[in-house]
């Protein structure tokens, strides 16, 4: 049996090479592949609730369009733009990390954090409004403009709160990760050799953006159902 030795002098001293990987390339590929697979589970996680959403949307089209009428399209659209900007800054942060630009990496991560927080702030304001309009499902649900459809509008609002809530939870987790990445970038951990953590942070952030790209039309822009 021939053997290869475990000695890879070129990479041996890289501080972030974990002992069980042969080299940084293997480690980089493993971590990005791992992130992609994690995102695959996320797709099915959000996909599950979307499936339920579509079942009821097809069963109760009027209630769904009535529900969407309760949403503030301006805030929804604004938030979409804000999130897209944050995705851009995130992508630029990865680019800066690849190029080894320490300060601009931190700056772009910080910008991402700012836009992400802006999104959450606007979302929080919407939540606050909905809560006071009696649009939180459960005992506080006091919306009765069309009494017969009220339970189904409540169902819509359940999906609204549930899906945007899950999305917001991902944003909050992402914000925490951003802080961590900023600290690491500031410390000068990243460069052309080693930027996998920023890259997978970016994958996560873009995924959260994609979820919103679908949630926006699904929750805010449902076409009206026409009564004869």
């Amino acid at each position: 049996m021939s053997v290869v030795t475990n000695e890879h002098p070129a990479h041996e001293h890289h501080p972030f090479l974990q002992h069980h990987f042969e080299d940084l390339a293997q480690q980089h590929e493993a971590s990005t592949l791992g992130m992609w697979m994690f995102l695959a589970t996320e797709i099915l996680f959000f996909g599950g609730v979307l499936c339920a959403y579509w079942v009821y949307r097809i069963l109760y089209p009027e209630a769904w369009s009535l529900g969407a009428e309760q949403q503030n399209k301006l805030f929804g659209g604004l938030n979409t733009i804000v999130l897209i900007i944050s995705s851009l800054t995130m992508a630029l942060a990865v680019r800066n990390a690849q190029l080894g630009k320490r300060k601009s990496t931190v700056a772009m991560l910080f910008a991402t954090l700012v836009f992400g927080s802006t999104f959450l702030a606007i979302k929080g304001f919407e939540y606050w409004q909905h809560y006071h309009e009696g649009l939180f499902p459960g005992v506080n649900f006091t919306w009765h403009e069309v009494p017969a459809l009220a339970p189904k509008v409540q169902l819509f609002m359940t999906f609204y709160w549930g899906m945007t809530g899950l999305h917001a939870l991902h944003m909050v987790i992402g914000a925490g990760l951003l802080l961590w990445m900023m600290a690491r970038a500031w410390r000068g951990d990243f460069g052309p050799e080693y930027y996998a953590p920023v890259e997978i942070m970016g994958l996560y952030w873009h995924f959260v953006d994609i979820v919103w790209i679908f949630l926006f039309p699904f929750l805010y822009l449902i076409p009206g159902v026409h009564h004869v």
Binding site: S2, V4, T5, H20, A40, T41, A52
Partner: protein, 551 residues
């Protein structure tokens, strides 16, 4: 191949060398370990404890069912027992059993890697498992849950006044443990293979773990979100699954079975992987139709996702979709049949050694065949209308899960026990236990097929008197089975101190895991192996051995 002989001197560690067990001492060195072998041992202890808990529920239920009247337990207690039996055995024993214990231990060894790709995540998944298990135990102590492991709505959301929220939350958490294990395995198989170890040189156990991991990764999140909706519905009651408010209880069933049917394959695919390894080792042959067996694992992983609503034929799905699901269900039977035929054919012109692991696997093939063909009965819709929700179903899935998955788990545990512990188990006792388990299993579950066709519904605490004789037989079998499972527990522990030292390769098997010491050193291999041979290349190995040794 320069090959490996039995107990090759190259792999015998020098006196006093440290292996993964003796590498560090102290509780923290285990609880904070990132080593896949140690994590496997942590899992081994945890799932054994939960297996005994689940087994306890089963034994009490079987005793209760000795008489038609519900005279030992109250109805509520009985309902909690079968619910907890299901939850504990499925989520806390069967799903982690082979992947998290044997897979964790062996995958890096079989791939020639030092560890899994994400050692910390591996440890995290064990902690998630433990957190969920502790929650489950707390719930059991404080009153249990009575919904059945299927959590059907609206019973679970509105009518049950037990700890539904807590137990679904525990299942949610243990689901993430399962996802992370699967993710780790997939990345490891893709990225950590030794030089020269191409896909078609992989042991079939690795193929099986790969297929299993796909299912874990893609099915479990749907269960997670379904349980989230269930928990939300239970707390807020907005009618997600309540028809009075516009919800549809069948939607819960659809989404639940989208996970829970593939979950069956999370349990049985690894068992098939073990079967392939053991059959090859104890016939000293390459598995007949290697590529068919490998691809059939992937086929099962995919087709398993297309058949879930065959659990719902009488639940109220449309006639049209019932037909689609019945049709697709027959597809998934084909790759399973391929495997059974190939294992059987491997025996032809082999050198068959009926050691304990092989006895278990021959039992596995037989029981899995019975479990599989009775699945065909259930997939025939017209027949399913009569037998669904009866003991026929109970017998069918126990043949798959106990006769299949648990038998293979026992086989794998015995086969790799020398590798894990460095000691041989006592062969005579082990064979006795294998035969007891086989006999006890059949006596327990075969009568249930008849009970089911007679019409005894499942989850019945009391039953009609004419069903008693078969139930008594079943309970008698269960007591044999309990003794059968208690035996390995005793002699395996005994063997830790008194077992014969095993040496690196006691079976004369091929595969990278046998080319290192038993127990393996912390870093698995002192030198990264380079693979130049196909899986199960016994002829080359035996040629290299020259003088054959009796093993």
């Amino acid at each position: 191949m320069s090959s490996v002989t039995v107990n090759d001197a190259r792999f015998v560690e020098p006196e006093g060398a440290r292996n993964y067990i003796t590498h560090d001492y102290g509780a923290l060195s285990w609880l904070l370990t990132k080593d896949h072998k140690r994590i496997a041992i942590l899992y081994l202890f945890s799932i054994t404890a939960l297996f005994m808990l689940g087994g306890f529920f089963a034994v009490v239920m079987r005793i209760e069912l000795l008489t038609p009247e519900g005279d030992l337990l109250t109805s509520d207690t009985y309902n909690k027992f079968f619910t907890l039996h299901g939850i504990v055995m499925i989520f806390f024993f069967l799903i982690p059993s082979i992947p998290a214990v044997l897979g964790n231990f062996l995958l890096p060894l079989m791939l020639g890697a030092k560890d899994l790709a994400f050692p910390k995540i591996n440890l995290l998944s064990w902690y998630l498992y433990i957190i969920a298990a502790v929650m489950g135990l707390y719930i059991i102590i404080t009153g249990g849950v009575d919904t059945g492991w299927t959590f059907y709505t609206p019973f679970s959301t509105q009518y049950s006044n037990t700890h539904v929220f807590g137990v679904t939350f525990a299942a949610f958490i243990v689901g993430f443990s399962s996802i992370l294990t699967g993710l780790n395995f997939l990345v490891t198989i893709h990225r950590m293979r030794a030089p020269g170890l191409t896909w078609f040189r992989l042991p079939l156990f690795v193929w099986a773990m790969y297929a299993t991991s796909i299912v874990q990764l893609l099915a479990t999140p749907v269960l997670a979100i379904t349980l989230v909706m269930l928990m939300f519905e239970r707390v807020v009651h907005v009618g997600i699954f309540d028809p009075a408010l516009g919800g549809d209880p069948l939607l819960f069933q659809h989404m639940f079975w989208f996970y829970s049917h593939p979950a069956v394959y999370i349990m049985i695919l690894p068992a098939m992987g073990v079967a392939s390894e053991v059959v090859a080792a104890f016939t000293r042959k390459k598995i007949f139709g290697y590529s068919f067996v490998a691809y059939s694992s992937l086929a099962i992983a995919f087709l398993g996702f297309l058949v879930w609503a065959h659990h719902m034929f009488v639940a109220g799905i449309s006639v049209y979709s019932a037909m689609i699901f019945s049709f697709l269900s027959y597809f998934v039977a084909v790759p399973s049949a391929i495997k059974v035929f190939n294992w059987t054919a491997t025996l032809y012109r082999g050198s068959v050694a009926l050691m304990t692991p092989m006895l278990y696997i021959l039992g596995f093939i037989g029981l899995f065949t019975i479990g599989g063909v009775t699945g065909l009965f259930l997939a025939a819709i017209g027949l399913d209308v009569h037998v669904t929700d009866t003991y026929f179903v109970v017998a069918h899935f126990h043949y798959i899960m106990v006769g299949g998955a648990v038998m293979a788990y026992m086989a794998g545990l015995h086969y790799w026990w020398p590798k894990i512990t460095g000691r041989m188990y006592p062969e005579w006792w082990a064979r006795l236990a294998a035969l007891l388990i086989f006999a006890g299993f059949n006596l327990t579950f075969f009568p249930q097929f008849i009970l089911g066709y007679l019409g005894m519904p499942r989850r019945y605490h009391a039953y009609a008197p004419e069903f008693q004789v078969l139930n008594v037989m079943s309970t008698a079998g269960a007591s044999v089975l309990a003794v059968g499972y208690a035996l390995p527990l005793c002699y395996l522990i005994w063997s830790l101190w008194y077992g014969r030292p095993a040496g690196p390769n006691p079976w004369g098997a091929v595969g990278l895991e046998w080319t290192t010491a038993s127990p393996p050193p912390m870093e698995n291999f002192h030198e990264t192996p380079v693979v130049t041979w196909d899986a199960y290349d016994y002829p080359a190995m035996l040629k290299a051995m020259g003088e054959t040794q009796n093993v």
